[in-house]
Symmetry: C2
Subunit: 515 residues, 2 copies
């Protein structure tokens, strides 16, 4: 989930002050509403050392009534705590209804610092993850709102911040030996964090990644996220209470139900300033190859791919290649260059259209299971199960619960594929809006390509921004170490096709070396 994060996000001080002035009173008001509605709230801060947890927690609590929250700083277990199950100290700190508990580091210590320091043995990791997930699920089922923030900075930035702290006598003590050890082994420790994010990102307690290089940006993003989640929960609890009151009355229903959605604070800010982890917009679409470069590379790569394809078959390794992207993003062309060099008995291209009646009558993942490749075969999906969190989400073909649950369902499915031995790669074919328009028009002009463009394509284009938001969220929540997303910069078709081929070849070669 971290791989795709753009750490260059920034906000000016003046802008920051302006936005915070409007957010602070909202957060205060929401705290009072949660108190009145008896909603317990748990806010967890995790992230790299010196990523600013302390400072940001301080900014979060400024607008809050101090009688209604408590901050817990979690370090190593005391002797007293070591004598009890590891969740004991967290269970006993869970908030009373209507109160907010803020954790500066948390139960995740067990699978992070304690794992790194070998306090948690590897054999205990599976247990620890199951126990953590069960703990959060129980609390969420019991009505708790759970927000989890992960503060992300680069290794270089961390080193810089540690140096500033160490250079000052007053603050040097704050950098521990453990901090320096983790700084030294930053990449190794990052892998543990990534695994933690992947395994514990659930619909009942999702992670929000915070780009924490710039503190103003981070503070605004955190507070906005808290406001958004509390607004949703308050609306949900109120709706339930009203429904219950309605039932109790059992007289004729009140015609003016307050089903109006609360005005979203986040959207207000979003208009002026993007708080999203924008992945797509940071793709460099100027990347390109000339026709000559393309031809040369293509020939060489297709030759290698042909050999690797038969290696795959001999070694019985299944491969799943998933293609998503904007309409006219170049999926078809890339798939064609890939399959041209492959033995047709060893691959299948599975186009995904709107589900037919039989498919609609099953679980949404069922139809993709039909086409899971055999060992040694390559299954290429032209559009995929990700429809659930894109078109189905945006067009309202499934409920909010359903698409929010889908991230974990999809991750579980891909984990199962990877765990059974498959190479799983997902491509997002990225083009910009102008390029799309150009391609649409080209297709309209060529009679034998005109069928590729429908009215629906033009309609989808109008929802570009909505799609972009959904895709960004999808890329973060489902880019895993075992099934990564690859953004293919596609304005130049030559470049895109080569990148797809290179990525597939790299992945296969890496696997071949493993065993």
């Amino acid at each position: 989930m971290l791989e795709k994060i753009d750490l260059s996000k920034k906000m000016g001080k003046k802008e920051y002050r302006q936005i915070m002035d409007s957010l602070a009173p909202k957060l205060g008001a929401l705290q009072r509403e949660c108190r009145d509605l008896k909603i317990p709230v748990i806010i967890v801060f995790e992230g790299f050392g010196a990523s600013g947890k302390g400072t940001l927690i301080n900014q979060l609590i400024q607008p809050l009534d101090p009688r209604g929250f408590q901050v817990f700083a979690i370090s190593g277990e005391s002797q007293e705590e070591q004598m009890r199950p590891f969740l004991w100290r967290f269970w006993t700190k869970t908030p009373e209804n209507g109160r907010i508990a803020i954790f500066d580091r948390s139960w995740y210590r067990r699978v992070l610092v304690d794992r790194f320091d070998k306090v948690t043995p590897d054999a205990q990791l599976g247990y620890a993850y199951n126990e953590i997930i069960s703990f959060e699920q129980q609390l969420a089922d019991g009505g708790n709102v759970i927000l989890k923030f992960f503060l992300d900075i680069t290794k270089k930035e961390q080193a810089k911040r540690y140096k500033v702290l160490l250079d000052n006598k007053e603050t040097a003590w704050r950098v521990t030996e453990g901090d320096l050890k983790r700084q030294k082994h930053f990449d190794e420790y990052k892998v543990m964090n990534e695994e933690m994010l992947q395994r514990t990102d659930t619909d009942f307690a999702p992670w929000t990644i915070i780009e924490a290089m710039d503190r103003e940006y981070a503070a605004v993003k955190i507070i906005s996220a808290v406001i958004k989640r509390l607004e949703e929960k308050v609306a949900e609890v109120k709706a339930k209470e009203e429904a219950r009151a309605e039932e109790k009355k059992s007289e004729n229903a009140d015609p003016q139900k307050s089903t109006a959605k609360p005005e979203s604070t986040e959207e207000g800010i979003q208009d002026k300033f993007s708080l999203r982890s924008s992945i797509l917009s940071s793709a460099d679409l100027s990347l390109s190859y000339t026709k000559a470069e393309y031809k040369e590379k293509l020939k060489e790569l297709q030759g290698r791919m042909a050999v690797l394809h038969s290696d795959l078959y001999r070694r019985r390794i299944p491969v799943v290649l998933a293609f998503e992207g904007w309409d006219a993003g170049g999926k078809g062309g890339a798939i064609k260059r890939l399959t041209e060099c492959m033995d047709p008995r060893g691959y299948a291209v599975n186009p995904t259209a709107a589900p037919n009646d039989i498919e609609k009558a099953h679980h949404y993942l069922w139809r993709f299971w039909q086409n899971v490749p055999k060992a040694g075969h390559v299954a290429i999906f032209d559009r995929t199960w990700y429809g659930r969190v894109m078109v189905e989400r945006i067009e309202g073909f499934c409920t909010t619960d359903e698409w929010q649950r889908a991230y974990k369902e999809i991750n579980d499915m891909e984990a199962h594929l990877a765990h059974s031995g498959a190479i799983v790669i997902k491509f997002w074919m990225q083009i910009d809006k102008d390029e799309q328009e150009k391609r649409f028009k080209e297709r309209m002009a060529i009679p034998e390509k005109r069928w590729k463009i429908t009215d629906e394509d033009w309609r989808n284009r109008e929802k570009w921004d909505q799609y972009e938001e959904a895709v960004d969220e999808m890329l973060i929540r489902t880019s895993t170490t075992y099934a990564p997303w690859v953004i293919v910069e596609g304005n130049c078709k030559y470049y895109a096709r080569i990148k797809v081929l290179e990525t597939v070849i790299d992945a296969i070669e890496t696997r071949m070396k493993q065993k």
Copy 2:
């Protein structure tokens, strides 16, 4: 979950015919309703070899319209199937909406036969369980009804049935070498089954244990359970559809909502014939000791316990002893005899009354977490977290969802305690209704004991049958290898106190030997 099952359950042929004649048309009608409401149904049969899966599935499908269901017999993977992730062959067999898929053995093979045969390596078990649970959860979330039956017979009965099959040339082929190997290592294989039941008994896909010694009894219990679950689901789906229709109308609500509960078929049979796994009623309450026997045993045991208590302290082993039972069942007396011989610095008795305001404002397990013992200490709970699935269930202090979810929550909590090193034992103090009345009256007659009896105690007594049903279900769902329930036959107080002491001493001594 198997340990407490009473395998002596039987039903006469005549009774069976009568009941089946009334059940069959109901099942047929429910199948049609599920088809119309587009509810997909998954029914899984697992259990020991020769426990009658084939015969019972045959009886289940008799009343069904053959166009609406399919039976899948699951044996080892074909070559084709081996080349795909292990869930692939099950995903592709999931039923279309409105249809019923019946599995004669299932995905559980992976953690049962394949585990026994070492086809599934131990290192893969954790993955397999997580993948199975995720699979069932996804299907349940997607609207599938999932029923799982486990057919239980004794080792002896299995041997007898195999012999009958082997003695006949026509049927001998049905007993495989694998069957005979598992028969030989029945107890070892049973442990794997028990672990499987414990780890996969969830609120969205619960197990029903079927006493399968008597085929008539088993058939009726299975069909009743299917009817009950489908009735519930049909009612739930209809209620949702009505609510949706209601919303759409958005005119004044229809005052006669059909919120009437469907008449339960199971209750009808239950009146005439108990289908419950009755654990409490099979306790032998005639067990007793004379006063002289009691005194002698008590002295000896208390002496041993005193020594063991300091051993526990030295070895830093925490102990959790949970006491539940009927009012006046003798909890207090048994706890007193236990603590008399213990160092007061090393134990605490935690009485559990109705929750206070602070406790009510937290998760229901929170208050018990406060009293989790330190390593080396003994925590005794006089009434416990099991209130959730007894009094709170029966008095409606929590919702059906909440108490059904609680079995897993409680099992998870106890697993966490046990996994952190604690000995966990749960006692159910069993007396009969007459004995309770006698004790109530005695207490009323003795001024210094009168406070122990309240009007509520007399009221609870009237709900004896409801409690017994809830307790039986609780005992099955939460008796685990890591935290077993011990039924204490308590009509004779002397006997009960000695059994409690003996059980605790046994458990500690066993642990001492382990390391």
